[in-house]
Assembly symmetry: none
Homo-oligomer: 206 residues x 4
DNA sequence: TATGAATGAGTATTCATTCAT
DNA sequence: GATGAATGAATACTCATTCAT
C-alpha cells in the first residue's frame, strides 16, 4: 500500500494531442505529416495508430469538448424564450466558449477548405448555424438579419483576429463582445434606416 | 480605327485561370491537383507549365488585380486627412473592392493555413493590416481599437459569410457595410456604453 | 522519308506487363510489390502509374485478351445446337485457349483468394460458369452433371498441373483433352451405373 | 469414475483455430489480419502469440491432422502391391480424406501462391506428389500418365469445385470419385488410341 | 493467461515538376 | 504552343511481431 509505482497507462495519447494541436496550428492540418508528430514525440508513426484510428481521428478528438459545450449552449438556447436579453446572454456565453477554445478556432478558420470535406468541419458549421438561428428574429428586415448574422460572425472570426492587438486578453474579449452585442441589439431596434448613400454607399455624414 | 490584328496569344492562359479559380474555390488550393485543371481543359499537365512557372504562379496571377486595387486604395488613404468621414469612405471603397473580388476572398479565407506560407497570403495580410492601420486612431481606448479592427473584419469575413443569406447581393453588401460603418463610427464617439448583460460578463461602465 | 528515328512511343507499357506477369507468376499477385516491378525495369514506381492507374489495372490488362477470346467462344457456343459433338468441339476450343494463356491460368489458380475480391477473378469465374452451362444437359442425372462439370475442370486445373509431367506440351494437351472429352462423352451415354461399392465407394472390379 | 479434474487448458487455443479457419476461408490467409481474429474472439492480438508462435503457426496447426492422415495413406499405399485394384482403393480413400478436410482444401487451393512459399504448402504438394506416384505405372504411355495424374487431380480440385452443384454431398462425392476412377482405370487398359483430330484436336465423331 | 504499448518494415498511391521532342 | 514520359519525394496507413507487466 502506498505504492509508488509509475502509472501503467502512459500519457502518450495526451501528448499526441498536444503536439498535433501545436503543429496543426503552426502548419495547418493538411501540411502536418504524421511523421512530424511522431518525430517530435520520439515515437514511431505506428504508435500514433495505436492511439488513433486515422489522422482525422486525432483532429476529431481535439474538438470533442468544444462540440459538447456548443451543443449544451444550443440546447439551453432552445429552452429559453426568444427575447433580446436571452440572445445577448447567448452571445456572451458564446464569447466565453469561443475564447476558451481559441486555438481550435484558429484551426477551424485557417483550414476551412480542408475541414469542409471532413465531419469536423461540417459538424461545426451546423452548430454555428444553429446558434445563428437562435439569434435571428422571424420576419425581420434584411438589415436586421445581416446584423444578427454578423454579430455571431464577429465573435467567431474576431476571436481569431484580435489576438494580434495589444492589450489584456480578457479586456479584448469583452470589447469584442461589446461590439457584437451592439450589432445584435441594433438589429432589434425598430429604426434601421436603410443605410446607403453616395460613392459606393457611404452614408452622408452630418 | 482600332487594331486589326487578331490576338496572337491564344486564350489558353485565361482558360487555365478560369478553371483554376473554379477548382480552387470548390476544393481548395492544396486539394486541387494540376491534373484536374488540365483534364478539365483537355490539355496535358505539361501545357500548364508553358503558361505558368509553378502551381503557385497560377494562384498569384489570380490575385494580381486585387492586389493592385488594394494598393491604390491604401495609397489614397494615406494621402487623406485622418478623419472619420475619410475612414468611412475607406470602408465603403473596401466594401466595393471586396465584393467585386468575392471569389478571391473565399479562396483567401478558406485556404489560410496554406496561403500563409505563400507570398500571396502574406501580401494580402500586409495590405489588410495597412488598411486596418488607416482606420485606427492613435491613443484610442482598447474598446475603440477593437471596434476599428472589427469593422474591417466584418467586411472581410462578412463578404464571405452573408452569401448564404437570402436577399439581393447589393442590398446585403450595403447592410454589411452599414454594420461595419456603425462599428467604426461608434469607435469615434466618446461614449462607448458597454453593452452586455449578466453572467459571462461585460464590466459595467462607470 | 525512310526515317530511322527511334520510336517515340516507348515500349515501357509492354515491358511493365512482361515483368508483372513474370513476378505475379513467381511470387503471386499480392506478394509482388510495385517496387519490385519498377526496380526490375530500372524505372521509378511513379512511372508505373503513368502507364496504369492502379496495381490491379496492370493485372487486368494482362487478362484482356483471354477474356475476349472466352467471350467469343461463349457466344459461338450459344449459337450452336445443344449436341454432344458441339460440346466436344467446345471443350477442344477451350483446350486451345487455356493452353495459349497458360501463365494466366497459373495466376488465376494460384491467387484465387486474392482475385476473388477483384473484378478480374469474378469475370473469369462468370465466364467459366457460362462455359460449364453450355456443357450441361438439362434434366440429366447427378452423375452426368458432375462429369460435365468435371470435364471442364479437368481442362482448367489440368492445364496448370500437367506442366510438371515430362513430354511434349502439345501431346500433353491432347491427352488432357482426351480425358476431359471422355468424361463429357460418358455423361451423355445412357448407361451410367450408379457407381459405389465397398470401402468408401470403390467400384467392384470385374 | 473418470477424472475429476477439470481441464486446466482453456479452450482459447481451439477457439483461435476455429476463427482462423473461418476467416482464412472467407478472406484468404494473407488478407486475414491477426487483429481480425483477435477481435472476433474478444482478446488482444498479443493473446494469439501466447498460444501460437507466429501467424503461420496457426495455419500449420490447422493442417496437422490432414497431414497425418495423408502420410498414413501413403505409407499404406507403399506397402501394397502395385495393382489397379489397390490404386482404385487408394483413390477411394483419398476421396474420403479430401472430403473430410474439405475446408482445408479450399484454403490450400485458394491460397496457393501464398502457401507455396510456406512449409504447409510444400508439405502438401509433396504428399500429393507421393500419392500421384503411387497411382502411376512405370513405362506407361504419356496418355496413361496424364490420365493417372488427372484422376487424382479431379479429386483434389473437384472436391473444391462441386460444392456449387446441387445434390447430396455424399452422392456428389461418389460421382466425382466414379469419374476419377474411370480415368484411372482407362489408363490401365491397353488401348488408348492417341486421341487427336481436326480443329484443335476434337476427335472425329463416328 | 493475457494485455497495453510500441516498433520496423512495408505498401499503394499522389503530386508538382522537368525535359526532350 | 504543347505533349509523352518519367522522376523524386512525400503521405496515410497496415501488419506481424515483441515485451514488460
Amino acid at each position: 500500500m502506498g505504492s509508488t509505482t509509475t502509472p501503467r497507462r502512459s500519457n502518450t495519447r495526451q501528448r499526441i494531442q498536444d503536439v498535433a494541436l501545436k503543429l496543426f496550428l503552426e502548419q495547418g492540418y493538411e501540411k502536418t505529416a504524421l511523421r512530424e508528430i511522431s518525430d517530435e514525440l520520439g515515437v514511431t508513426k505506428a504508435a500514433l495508430y495505436y492511439h488513433f484510428k486515422t489522422k482525422e481521428d486525432i483532429l476529431v478528438s481535439l474538438f470533442l469538448d468544444l462540440g459538447r459545450k456548443m451543443d449544451e449552449l444550443i440546447a439551453w438556447g432552445k429552452r429559453q424564450p426568444r427575447e433580446l436579453t436571452v440572445k445577448q446572454e447567448l452571445l456572451a456565453r458564446c464569447s466565453v466558449i469561443f475564447h476558451d477554445a481559441a486555438p481550435l478556432f484558429d484551426i477551424l478558420i485557417a483550414n476551412q477548405a480542408t475541414l469542409d470535406a471532413l465531419s469536423v468541419g461540417q459538424d461545426f458549421k451546423d452548430r454555428v448555424a444553429a446558434l445563428s438561428d437562435l439569434l435571428q428574429e422571424e420576419n425581420s428586415s434584411l438589415n436586421a438579419r445581416v446584423r444578427c448574422a454578423t454579430s455571431l460572425l464577429t465573435l467567431h472570426f474576431g476571436t481569431f483576429a484580435i489576438r494580434q492587438l495589444d492589450g489584456d486578453p480578457e479586456e479584448k474579449r469583452l470589447a469584442l463582445l461589446a461590439g457584437a452585442t451592439e450589432l445584435l441589439t441594433s438589429a432589434h431596434e425598430g429604426v434601421l434606416s436603410g443605410v446607403a448613400g453616395p460613392s459606393a454607399g457611404v452614408p452622408p455624414e452630418g
